[in-house]
């Protein structure tokens, strides 16, 4: 007999045991991703000269700023148990709208506004269809994907260069850090988006309801939570993030083109999953998605450092990683259940 020195008889031991619960860790999968990242850098620095330099790390952010923003929006959607296949096309559409409006002489702020409004509206529309007509997110956003890509061609089949001065100077701008390092403004924007998203997801009612809906939509409904607002809202957020990501991509490429960002939605989804977010919803952290993007970026860096590897290795390694992570997640969820 263990020594329960309870003065009341009310199943004390039971209570005691419960007190010992530490908060369960959502952090674990994120740590796994982080460890993977560090491991990859370890291997890289052994194999290639100059791989583990600070600027290489920073370049991961520079080259993937747009993908980070997309992954943030995708995280919101996946946390509710949904999926958004339209993001790649919306990126392309955004570059097109930016490039064509700028060519038509719009002031840059108006062009930016037009892009953001279009993307957000498109996301909102998909959200409304998904929630109110009970259409599968997969189908609704697949339609959105075709629609956005189609609209690109409607604007132009050709690539449109961006010659606007503001855009050009922004594109060329860099922020020098101590130690002869630099980042671009787009990096700051993407990190700001990550920070805001993390804050919203953890500190606001909207954010917590996102998790609730992902955990169990019917329960959230019976708890009297604003399920409709959240379910529609996450697609609007993803739409906004895609268009913002599109703008960053436009700055990166300095052109608008219908064939930009083909398949980028899959990169975003891969990043989110590798970052530890469960595809079934309810579990995941936005910081994980950031790490997921960095993992994808590191794979690319590997390939470019190696020089002999074909770029197909990127896809192959992403595929393998995805598989490993999904299997790991299965393990996690199994353990949760029992």
């Amino acid at each position: 007999m263990t020594t329960a020195t309870a003065s009341d008889v009310s199943g004390r031991s039971f209570v005691d045991r419960l007190k010992g619960y530490s908060p369960p860790s959502q952090v674990l999968p994120v740590l796994a991703t982080f460890a993977l990242l560090v491991g990859m850098f370890g291997v890289g620095s052994i194999r290639y000269e100059g791989f583990a330099s600070p600027q290489v790390v920073l370049n991961l952010f520079v080259d993937n700023a747009f993908l980070i923003v997309l992954a943030v929006g995708m995280t919101f959607v996946i946390l509710t148990g949904g999926i958004d296949l339209s993001v790649g096309s919306v990126v392309a559409l955004s570059t097109m709208i930016a490039a064509s409006t700028l060519r038509a002489g719009w002031p840059p702020t108006m062009a930016v506004l037009a892009v953001l409004v279009t993307g957000t509206t498109l996301g909102l529309a998909m959200g409304l269809v998904i929630h109110y007509f009970e259409v599968q997110p997969f189908i609704a956003t697949l339609a959105g994907m075709f629609l956005a890509r189609g609209l690109c061609y409607l604007i132009s089949v050709e690539s449109i260069p961006i010659k606007d001065e503001t855009f050009q100077s922004l594109s060329a701008a860099s922020i020098t850090l101590p130690g002869e390092l630099y980042v671009t403004p787009t990096v700051l924007i993407s990190l700001l988006v990550v920070a805001i998203a993390a804050w919203v997801l953890h500190m606001t009612r909207f954010g917590r309801t996102v998790y609730a809906v992902g955990g169990s939509e019917s329960s959230a409904m019976l708890m009297g939570l604003a399920v409709a607002r959240v379910k529609v809202g996450v697609y609007a957020i993803s739409g906004f993030c895609s268009s913002l990501g599109g703008l960053l991509f436009a700055l990166y490429m300095l052109s608008g083109y219908s064939l930009h960002a083909v398949g980028m939605e899959l990169d975003a989804i891969a990043a989110v999953v590798i970052g530890g977010t469960l595809l079934t919803g309810g579990y995941g952290l936005v910081i994980g998605s950031l790490l997921g993007v960095l993992v994808l970026g590191t794979i690319q860096t590997f390939i470019s450092f190696d020089g002999t590897l074909s770029s197909w290795w990127t896809k192959i390694s992403i595929g393998v990683l995805l598989l490993v992570f999904v299997v790991l997640q299965r393990f996690f969820t199994r353990r949760e259940v029992s």
Binding site: M1, T2, T3, A4, T5, A6, S7, V9, S10, G11, S13, F14, V15, R17, L18, K19, Y21, S22, P23, P24, M203, T204, R205, R208, T209, Y211, A212, G214, G215, S216, S218, S219, A220, M221, L222, M223, G224, L225, A226, G282, Y283, E336, V337, S338
Partner: protein, 527 residues
């Protein structure tokens, strides 16, 4: 609910609702009809509640209790009738709008998000905020306070899913009682609670009642209903059969009104001496020193054919943990298990099923209901899986088995092709139980098999278990209801504080004896 004694009638204090003529009802539902394809779930039902009363809604499984509640809160739209809350006609659009009008509800199954923290599950939707930012500090503090009233001291930040179902149920109750409500609806809130928790809940309910809150209470535990309610409304087959002051009816009358017939099978089941264990035989299952760190101290247990072992103990005493270890649902880290004298290593439920062990878990709903399959399919799932998919159960046998158990457990609607999700909570439970009974395992572990099941069906289930044991099945029977354990068991194992503290043959044992054993160890520990 074995004894039909009428001595539990509370008779203290002034009874609210004595003079309804001069008090306005806070809820008044008139002529409510709700039809689902093929079923009239409610047929012209009227129902009213007065401020400051506890109103019990009674009826068998499938009588329409939950449906009436969902009509009130707007989860279902009504086909006919009117609903008035606080004097104004209302048609709520769902929990949120009902809540805004002062109707706070705990639905039958725990409807919370297991991926969120305890505090979030309690407070989300009305959590304290500052400039849009959730004040986690205050939220956690408030959660602690509310849970303390329910006698629960758990970390508000811990994840809900890490807690046993009873705790989750208390959190759901906490969520509802913390809302400033005029009407509090509790649909089977006590299904997975032990008497201690129930007492705490009743304290809270009484204090809310004295503040003028009207409380709607659904339970299949008659003791509880008589202990807490002032008035009751009885439904049968979707129709209203009566409204009474609780003190004006006896249990017998109530049960008759609910079932529409007399209840015969409630006497103590006869125990036959031949079913005392014979130490010379090999047991079906012999566990020696079976344990798991943090869950269960090493336990020895023998189960012989044709024997029902009852496991008694308070919530958290380790009774469910023992069941899970026996079945291999959790991995043990000490001890051995022998099946018919052969050492086995039960690494997974799958393995246990192969060895002809069955386990109906206390979380049957979340672990087994497949809403989109029919009743028959849900029932045969286990049998089919055990036979392997290459050897389908012959159609004739299927039909026979399904019909047999639909009848034996009184599943309603008695239609094997009904979709599982359209069954009432209690009837879903019965189907899941049937899934295991159909497989006729050598050893069947039943964790709270009669939870949420009405008085009539409960007796039937006990009868079925008894019959199976007579036919040679070994049964491990776990229930929070000591009367039930005593009625069925040949031998009793008492658990406390994750230890097996006693094992006695069930000869003339009473609930008082059992409680004494459980409490004795408290004394020892205290001394």
């Amino acid at each position: 609910m074995t004894h039909m004694s009428a001595d539990a009638h509370p008779s203290s204090g002034p009874r609210p609702g004595d003079a309804p003529s001069d008090i306005e009802p806070v809820v008044e539902m008139t002529g409510i009809t709700i039809t689902f394809p093929g079923v009239t779930a409610l047929d012209d039902v009227s129902f009213r509640m007065f401020p400051g009363e506890v109103h019990a809604l009674m009826g068998e499984n499938g009588a329409g209790k939950s449906t009436l509640i969902k009509a009130l809160t707007g989860v279902y739209t009504i086909d006919a009738g009117t609903i008035r809350v606080g004097g104004t006609e209302q048609q709520f659009a769902g929990t949120a709008t009902a809540q805004a009008a002062g109707v706070s509800t705990v639905y039958q199954e725990v409807n919370l998000c297991t991926n969120l923290s305890v505090a979030e599950n309690m407070m989300l939707g009305r959590e304290p905020r500052r400039l849009g930012r959730i004040d986690h500090r205050r939220m956690n503090r408030r959660t602690r306070e509310v849970l303390a009233r329910l006698g629960l001291d758990i970390a508000p930040r811990s994840r809900l899913g890490d807690h046993p179902i009873a705790v989750q149920q208390l959190v759901a109750i906490g969520r509802a009682v913390d809302i400033e409500a005029r009407v509090l609806v509790l649909d089977e809130p006590t299904a997975s609670l032990d008497s201690e928790e129930v007492d705490k809940l009743f304290e809270v309910v009484r204090s809310l009642r004295s503040q003028g809150v009207a409380i709607l209470f659904v339970s299949h535990f008659l003791d509880q209903v008589f202990a807490i309610s002032d008035r009751m409304t009885v439904l049968r087959n979707g129709r209203l059969v009566g409204e009474h002051l609780t003190r004006d009816v006896t249990r017998l009358e109530l049960v008759e009104e609910m079932l529409g017939r007399e209840l015969e099978v409630l006497e103590r089941l006869d125990r036959e001496p031949s079913r005392q264990p014979d130490e010379r035989r090999t047991p079906v299952l012999r566990a020696v020193g079976l344990g798991r760190k943090g869950a269960l101290a090493p336990v020895d247990l023998d189960v012989y054919d044709g024997e029902v072992i009852g496991i008694a103990g308070l919530l958290g005493s380790g009774r469910t943990e023992l069941a899970r270890l026996l079945f291999g649902a959790d991995a043990s880290d000490s001890g051995t298990v022998e099946l018919r004298g052969r050492r086995v290593h039960l690494r997974s439920p799958r393995k246990a099923v192969d060895q002809r062990i069955g386990f109906s878990s206390e979380n049957r709903r979340s672990e087994g209901v497949i809403g989109d399959l029919t009743v028959a399919e849900n029932m045969l799932l286990g049998l089919q899986a055990a036979r392997g998919w290459l050897r389908p159960v012959p159609p004739r046998t299927r039909d026979q088995l399904v019909t047999k158990y639909v009848e034996a457990l009184d599943i309603r609607p008695a239609n094997p092709d009904a979709l599982m999700r359209n069954l009432s909570g209690g009837n879903q439970q019965k189907v899941l139980l049937a899934r295991w009974l159909i497989m006729q395992p050598d050893l069947l572990i039943l964790d709270e098999p009669t939870r949420g099941i009405d008085v009539g069906a409960k007796a039937q289930i006990q009868q079925v278990v008894d019959d199976l044991a007579r036919d040679g099945m070994g049964v491990v029977f776990i229930s929070a209801e000591l009367e039930e354990v005593l009625r069925l068991s040949d031998r009793l194992v008492v658990m406390r504080d994750r230890h097996k503290v006693d094992e006695i043959p069930n000869v003339q044992t009473t609930t008082a004896d059992l409680m004494a054993i459980i409490a004795r160890d408290e004394e020892v520990a205290r001394a």
